[in-house]
């Protein structure tokens, strides 16, 4: 299964990068989302996957023992998901705003700081 997940991560990376390289601003954001998911999966797989053993201590016990999923990658990914939500929502609104002012979502027409061009 890990091998399939590794291939999936590669696909997510590839499609994310590809989308970021498009000229459309919307595609750029979609690319960032895909790439972000790829990174999350990368961290998750590298922390090894475990089925059905969440890192939660039983009510009767004080210490987690036996087989359990690694909590550290999960904590990292949780942070990443939330932060990327902040980034995405800001980027989406920024695109909307840029379009309202400049009437384009083509990156090639945005690469100048001059107002009149």
């Amino acid at each position: 299964m890990e091998i399939l997940l590794a291939i999936m991560t590669g696909i997510l990376y590839a499609s994310g990068i590809y989308m970021i390289m498009r000229r459309s601003l919307v595609k750029l954001i979609l690319g960032i989302v895909l790439l972000g998911n790829g990174v999350n999966l990368l961290i998750f797989v590298l922390g090894r996957i475990t089925k059905g053993e969440p890192p939660i201590i039983d009510d009767s016990q004080k210490v987690l023992e036996g087989i359990y999923a690694d909590p550290i990658p999960q904590a990292l990914i949780l942070t990443a998901i939330v932060i990327s939500f902040g980034l995405q929502s800001f980027a989406i609104i920024l695109v909307k705003r840029a379009y309202k002012v400049l009437k384009t979502d083509d990156l090639d027409q945005l690469n100048t700081t001059d107002e009149d061009s």
Binding site: M21, V26, I93, K96
Partner: protein, 768 residues
């Protein structure tokens, strides 16, 4: 002494505010500054002649060992008197030369700025303060060369000079820091005793190379000499003062100062002799091909500087005496010749030597000064030049190896310098006076008295060389050589080899003067070789650098996001890929992997389909919707693999993102495919290679054992220390609580940004 150094600075600051009063007749009063400084320094002559060294130190930045420490020994006194003495005459001369110039006050401001910087440079005992003064001289020289800033030529020459001397200054700083590091002090007087240990240090060669680079650029040694002829674009008083008498000797001064500290090695001596010899001969030969008076003087100045470097390279006591006497000789005759050239230019409007003749009829006192200057320059007895030339021959003849070769080079150079002096000082005044110059009249005495004064001084010192011996020559030698032998400067040494060599020089020089006439043809002939001159090679180099930089910028910084991204991705592929494949081995234990079940396969298939659909669909709404499916598949995946918190977060975040997208979407333009196929295939290949590299990277990492130390710590302590049972939550809100707090503030900032962007009303200007 600090006050003396600061006086010029203060005066130039004063001129910024009160300049307009000094443009007219009051301008001549500026000369009071150098004159009073000259008197001040002259009052030390007796003390220094008795072997005293006057030290003065003011703390500046003591924590860095940078102090304003000044020392006045024979060497600094000679330079200080030269700076203030020639300075006085030049200040007087300028009042007449640039009479009623609208920026006369500015000119005096630059001049006194320069004078102070130069004084500071020769009086500094601290390498760091010396460096600062050194840079100040370069900067003031830049302003003075570019004084006629409405002419493109002047600006270009000023930039060239600043470029060359500025680079030299930087290298000087490097050398000074290294030397200070090795010696443990920046004070030159403290370094004197450490010469042996400095010579043995591994940095020695580097220090010497840096100091040489500084001295050679400043003192216009081959191959950095070309800025000096260019600097002749400056008004003549500047050429006289900076580019012949003082500033260009700063490099020589540095070599003088450093020779007791660094001068103990063959490398030091040989390099200086070689560069000095090349410079003196190369530029002396150039003289023959010049027709502009200032050009002739510029090249003969370079040649004289070459002689000085050459003599310091020889480094024996005789050579150092010769060098110190020659500095005086050169300052006297070269400054006079420049001033005379300035008069000729001022009165006749030309400096072309082929057009000038017979001026003695109209400019008699100037002609006298010119003639004496030529005598000093040619080393004709009884002038001081004769004494100086004899000392040079004595130095070369008594050098251990290659005495004959060095003497021959010295003689050849002296013959050519004899020629230069006579062309500049005698030729314009003799012969038939052309009609167009008959109305030429004598300039103000402020202009012709200074050169006359200096040349007469040269004669008097020649007849009584003892005047120089006790005041300068001996204190200088005492400052530079540890065990000195007694010596006396004399005009007449009796009949010996040196006299014969001197006579040969004079005879051959005279023959040269009468056989070779300056012609434009010769000048044109040599200009064909300009292509391979150091000047053009260096210009080509600097132009090439500019081209290279703009090419570099247009390749790497073209403003397209995809371009930057491709470069970053390509670089990562190469860098990570190289490390990955250098020793690639995969030994994944297949048994340790989790089994593949039908549920996971179906989730993965769903994920794959939605990702591909997001990338390739032509509808934006469909892309966003399948984006949402990607997020949901992730939630399921997390749920399968024991991460319920992640699943929940991903689910809610994903829903919100899709809603936000859809809210914004209906306002956007049509979803277009903007790139052509070729670009898309290129980007596709790049992305795929990158993706497969990531896959390989993961597999590589999976084949290594995993460190579980930290996880175990949390597993053991989550409840006992933080009283939480959900370990992921405990990590976030307790163990790494501050991180989470900062994360929340990031979200708040983002939320504020979103709010602001939504609420911000467009200005009417932006709406159109």
């Amino acid at each position: 002494m600090l006050e003396a150094v600061l006086l010029g600075f203060l005066f130039s600051i004063f001129l910024v505010f009160a300049g307009r009063y000094f443009r007219g007749k009051l301008a001549v009063l500026s000369a009071l500054i150098p004159i009073s400084l000259f008197v001040y320094f002259a009052s030390f002559i007796n003390e220094v002649a008795q072997g005293k060294v006057i030290l003065e130190s003011v703390e500046w930045i003591p924590s860095f060992g940078v102090n304003l420490s000044f020392t006045l020994d024979g060497l600094s006194l000679l330079f200080a008197l030269m700076i203030t003495g020639v300075g006085s005459l030049v200040f007087l001369y300028t009042a007449a030369y640039l009479k009623n110039h609208k920026y006369l006050d500015r000119f005096y401001g630059y001049l006194s700025l320069f004078m102070s910087a130069m004084l500071g440079l020769v009086l500094s005992d601290n390498l760091m303060s010396m460096f600062i003064f050194w840079e100040l001289t370069s900067i003031s020289s830049f302003y003075l060369i570019g004084f006629n800033n409405d002419k493109a030529d002047s600006r270009k020459s000023a930039l060239t000079a600043l470029g060359i001397t500025g680079i030299g200054g930087l290298l000087f700083l490097g050398g000074a820091v290294l030397l200070g590091d090795v010696a443990g002090t920046y004070r030159i007087s403290e370094m004197l005793g450490m010469s042996d240990s400095i010579l043995k240090s591994p940095e020695y060669i580097l220090i010497v190379i840096l100091i040489f680079a500084a001295a050679f650029t400043k003192s216009a040694q081959f191959p950095f000499h070309f800025w000096l002829p260019g600097a002749m674009k400056a008004p003549t008083p500047v050429s006289t003062y900076l580019h012949s008498a003082t500033m260009v000797k700063a490099g020589v001064y540095l070599l003088f100062r450093m020779s007791p500290v660094l001068g103990g090695s063959d490398f030091w001596h040989h390099t200086l002799i070689i560069f000095g010899a090349i410079t003196m001969l190369y530029s002396a030969i150039h003289i023959i091909f010049r027709t502009d008076l200032k050009g002739i003087l510029a090249y003969s100045t370079i040649s004289a500087l070459g002689i000085l470097v050459f003599l310091i390279g020889i480094g024996t006591q005789a050579a150092l005496i010769a060098a110190s006497v020659f500095i005086i000789v050169h300052a006297l005759y070269k400054a006079s010749l420049f001033l005379i050239t300035g008069i000729i230019d001022h009165e006749t409007g030309t400096r072309d030597i082929t057009q000038l003749s017979g001026l003695k009829k109209v400019l008699m006192p100037v002609a006298i000064a010119g003639f004496i200057a030529a005598l000093i320059s040619g080393g004709v007895p009884p002038s001081l030049g004769f004494v100086g030339k004899d000392l040079i021959y004595e130095a070369t003849l008594h050098f251990e190896n290659n005495a004959i070769l060095l003497t021959v080079i010295a003689i050849a150079t002296n013959i050519l310098l004899f020629y230069a002096g006579f062309v500049a000082g005698v030729k314009p005044f003799f012969g038939k006076l052309p009609d167009k110059f008959e109305k030429v009249h004598m300039p103000s005495p402020l202009m012709w008295i200074p050169p006359l004064l200096m040349t007469v001084g040269g004669l008097i010192f020649g007849i009584f060389p003892g005047l120089i011996e006790t005041t300068f020559a001996k204190p200088i030698v005492n400052a530079l050589v540890t065990d000195t032998e007694d010596f006396h400067l004399k005009l007449w040494h009796g009949f010996n080899t040196i006299l014969a060599l001197s006579a040969t020089t004079l005879v051959l020089g005279t023959i040269l003067y009468f056989t070779i006439k300056p012609k434009h043809k010769l000048e044109q002939a040599i200009s064909k070789l300009d292509r391979i001159a150091p000047k053009n090679l260096l210009f080509k180099l600097s132009n090439g650098f500019v081209d290279f930089s703009s090419l570099w910028t247009s390749v790497f910084q073209n403003g397209y996001l995809r371009h930057y991204l491709s470069l970053i991705v390509a670089f990562l592929i190469i860098a990570v890929g190289f490390l990955l494949f250098k020793d690639f081995s995969l030994n994944i234990d297949l048994r340790s992997l989790s089994r593949v079940t039908i549920y996971e396969i179906s989730i993965l298939t769903m994920l794959l389909c939605s990702v591909l659909y997001t990338v390739f669909t032509k509808s934006r709404l469909a892309a966003v919707a399948s984006m949402g499916v990607v997020g949901l598949s992730f939630s399921l995946l997390f749920l399968f693999y024991s991460a319920p918190d992640l699943a929940m977060t991903q689910f809610s975040v994903d829903t919100l993102t899709v809603i936000l997208f859809v809210l914004v979407l209906y306002k956007l333009p049509k979803y277009l495919n903007l790139s052509d196929n070729k670009v898309r295939i290129k980007h596709g290949i790049l992305s795929l290679v990158f993706g497969s590299m990531i896959t390989l990277l993961i597999l590589r990492v999976l084949s290594e054992p995993k460190n579980t130390e930290i996880s175990e710590y949390y597993a053991e302590n989550a409840y006992t220390l933080a009283h939480g049972k959900n370990i992921v939550n405990v990590i976030l809100v307790d163990f790494r609580g501050i991180d989470t707090m900062i994360e929340i503030s990031v979200l708040i900032v983002a939320a504020l940004g979103v709010f602001g962007l939504l609420k911000l009303r467009l200005k009417s200007k932006d709406k159109k």
